[in-house]
């Protein structure tokens, strides 16, 4: 009985904190945590899902912030067809189950379109729910093929296999190397997805993959074994389909071993020049196949980067850019399909789904982006080289 009493007290405490939170949300609307209020029928409700906490929070926060900038820009310019956008972003901790909770929370809020989830596994889980509800889902960075297996889901980024194939083609066509070593994270679906496709495509290319070495989340600090194997096999290029944090360690360790091959990375490598205490001269000559470069000269990128830095005090990565584009893709699709906020979620979803294959969007992560009915994006990958501590388009 005593325990029951304490439980009730705990519940009461919870309820009290809940009401406190509720009023807080309505009152103070800070820039960081979205939640713009809007009237149903007069506003488009766009929800976002991604990890705000946990080990992947860097990506989720980037997406949240990038999309927020796009939403504010659109609202300032008069909205979409005169309708304002309400935007809310919910935390999924990078977990499929929590992503469903986040999705349901957003549904209660009145979401009509979903931008998310940021990481692959939650995206796949949520895609099932959006298919049930007939909602349009655009994932900024969920890159596996499973993310788009339902016809209501579209991607802003390349799929992993696509990126692997494109990278292999690029290396082959540019004649960058004869013998290639691949070092990837076998526990990360992004990394292993690219690595697998790269290795498969390499058979059709004039180079040879001599070493393919994996590491795991638990062994991502020491890469000397993998690098030693690559050197022993005589690899003149090391392909790193991994995120930049680990890549910076690989570059340092290769340097201290005196091993100096050509390094090449995918879009996860964007940001390597911003790593704390990293000697950027080590990355000199490195080639990145990334859709977004924060140093790009064009006006759109420059404006976005300046705005992002002003608000959040850091240089945006490609996740932020993908999210920014995702919001503008919603805008383009809404304008194409001419939907209004008073339509039901399913009506909007059906109309937008059809519109997605008809639109062309110029965004931060590519010009003239178009979509297949299958949900994958068509855009040209950009290759950049690091020269004198800065990205330079090739």
């Amino acid at each position: 009985m005593k325990k029951a009493v304490s439980m009730f007290l705990a519940l009461a405490l919870m309820a009290a904190s809940l009401t406190a939170c509720g009023s807080n949300e309505n009152g103070g609307n800070n820039q960081q945590s979205a939640g713009t209020e809007g009237e149903a029928g007069e506003t488009f409700f766009i929800g976002g899902i991604g990890p705000e906490t946990g080990e992947n929070s860097i990506y989720g926060l980037a997406v949240r912030n990038g999309a927020q900038i796009a939403v504010d820009e659109i609202n300032e310019a008069g909205g979409i067809n005169g309708y304002q956008i309400a935007y809310d972003f919910q935390d999924d901790e990078g977990d499929a189950e929590k992503a469903i909770n986040a999705y349901n929370t957003l549904k209660d809020w009145g979401m009509q379109m979903l931008m998310g989830a940021v990481t692959t596994t939650p995206s796949v889980a949520v895609a099932d729910k959006t298919a049930e509800d007939g909602m349009l889902q655009i994932t900024p960075s969920g890159s596996s093929l499973d993310c788009v297996k339902n016809d209501n889901v579209f991607q802003v980024c390349f799929t992993d296999p696509n990126q692997g194939i494109e990278s292999a083609k690029y290396v082959g066509e540019a004649g960058l190397a004869q013998k290639v070593a691949v070092i990837y994270n076998s526990q990360d679906s992004y990394s292993s997805g690219i690595a697998e496709a790269f290795i498969a495509e390499a058979e059709n290319q004039p180079f040879e993959v001599v070493v393919s070495e994996a590491f795991t989340n638990d062994t991502k600090t020491d890469f000397t074994v993998q690098l030693q194997k690559a050197r022993d096999a005589g690899a003149d290029m090391v392909f790193l389909p991994i995120y930049y944090q680990e890549a910076s360690l690989i570059l340092q360790q290769a340097d201290s071993m005196g091993y100096d091959p050509l390094f090449c990375g995918g879009d996860g490598m964007d940001g390597i020049l911003g790593v704390d205490n990293f000697d950027t001269s080590l990355a000199e000559g490195m080639i990145l196949l990334t859709p977004f470069i924060a140093d790009a000269e064009d006006e759109l990128t420059q404006n976005f980067v300046t705005e992002y830095q002003e608000r959040y005090d850091e240089v945006p990565n490609q996740f932020a850019a993908d999210a920014y584009d995702a919001i503008y893709i919603f805008k383009a699709a809404i304008e194409q399909a001419n939907v209004t906020p008073d339509m039901s979620v399913e009506e909007i979803g059906t109309a937008l789904k059809a519109a997605m294959t008809e639109i062309t969007v110029d965004g931060l992560t590519g010009e003239g982006m178009t979509w297949e009915a299958g949900g994958t994006v068509n855009k040209t990958p950009r290759a950049v080289k690091i020269v004198d501590g800065a990205y330079q388009e090739m």
Partner: protein, 352 residues
């Protein structure tokens, strides 16, 4: 009519709480007054209740510390999801397939429980905690390294990557290493979840109040005394631990069939998840089944209910968690509670 014993009444209250919650939810569902968030949380709640109750069997009743409960859940989830995906065409009936998947998940997890128990449960001390801790991490890594596919000539297995499976054109990769299993049929629902919770509670309560259960508790309370009266220590320990593992497997099955994508990450099957389940048990009271049910529900709902606070969500969650732990178990607060007129209760009997 025979007067019901105190334990029977206590047990009936526990079942009653579960059934009452089920009826309440059904009424709310029928009237449409349940938010989508809560509706989506119903199956996970059942999953965590089963996990908490089953771990309570090991921690509370057997008195051994297990830090790898999520590992058993992981085994149950993956074995059953693998079964369901590969049998999706062979067994047309959803109900039958899910029932078989439940058995597969429970048996696989139970087998792993026995495998671990054989060497470890013979020892005294904290060895079970050490080994289960390692098991939980190992099983996650093994699954992340496994690739299994199927084509017309049968199953293919590899520890390297999907290309080395060497499958025919018509092949389908079922388990894709770190990308896990996708496309698991969503067979779980709240009714099945509640039935499984009731079965779990029934198994655990009946075991506890049986001859075997008294033997298990005798081992917990005084191993030497139990041994001296002729109780087969290893056998009873093994029994409790294997049942606990099998029930965790059932929770895994429920989990896997609720989501269409299943990956073994540190977030869902890692060390933290095992600790989380342990927190359910400790907060609810060791050996107290009803407490486990309530604390699992409260602690699963809590982080979802405070989504409104945005960035401070996880901070508030942990503060509330610490506050509840202190309120429930700190000796000073317990004394204060006993002295306080509002909270004063008669000395409670053996609750379970």
């Amino acid at each position: 009519m025979r007067k019901l014993s105190k334990t029977t009444v206590n047990n009936l209250i526990t079942y009653g709480i579960v059934i009452f919650a089920y009826i309440l939810v059904q009424i709310l569902l029928a009237t449409g007054s349940l938010s989508s968030l809560l509706e989506g949380l119903l199956v996970p709640l059942c999953t965590y209740v089963i996990l908490a109750v089953s771990l309570n069997l090991t921690v509370g009743v057997l008195g051994e510390l297990s830090l790898g409960h999520a590992g058993f859940m992981c085994v149950g989830a993956f074995s059953s999801a693998f079964f369901s995906v590969s049998m999706q065409e062979a067994i047309a009936s959803d109900g039958l397939r899910f029932f078989l998947a439940l058995l597969v998940g429970a048996v696989c997890a139970g087998l792993f429980g026995i495998l671990i128990g054989i060497p470890v449960l013979r020892l005294r001390g904290d060895y079970l905690a050490i080994v289960t801790l390692a098991f939980g991490e190992i099983i996650k890594n093994i699954i992340n390294a496994m690739y299994v596919g199927r084509d017309s000539s049968g199953f293919h297995f590899s520890m390297k990557d999907t290309t080395s499976l060497g499958m025919a054109e018509d092949g389908q990769v079922i388990l894709k290493g770190p990308q896990g299993i996708t496309g698991t049929p969503g067979d779980s629902n709240f009714t099945i979840g509640v039935i499984l919770v009731l079965i779990t509670v029934f198994i655990v309560l009946n075991l506890v109040h049986s001859r075997a259960g008294r033997a298990i508790m005798a081992i917990r309370d005084n191993r030497i005394a139990a041994e001296s009266v002729g109780i087969n220590i290893t056998k009873y320990k093994m029994m409790a631990f294997a049942i606990s593992a099998a029930l965790a497997g059932v929770a895994g099955v429920l989990y896997a069939h609720n989501l269409s994508s299943l990956t073994a990450t540190s977030r869902n099957f890692g060390y933290n998840q095992s600790i989380m389940i342990l927190v359910f048990v400790v907060l609810g009271g060791m050996g107290n089944i009803r407490g486990s049910i309530i604390s699992a529900v409260v602690l699963t709902l809590l982080p979802e209910m405070i989504r409104g606070v945005g960035d401070y969500r996880m901070l508030i969650y942990s503060v509330v968690l610490i506050a509840m732990m202190i309120f429930n178990w700190s000796p000073k607060i317990k004394n204060w509670r006993e002295a306080h007129p509002l909270l004063k209760r008669r000395k409670r009997g053996e609750e379970a």
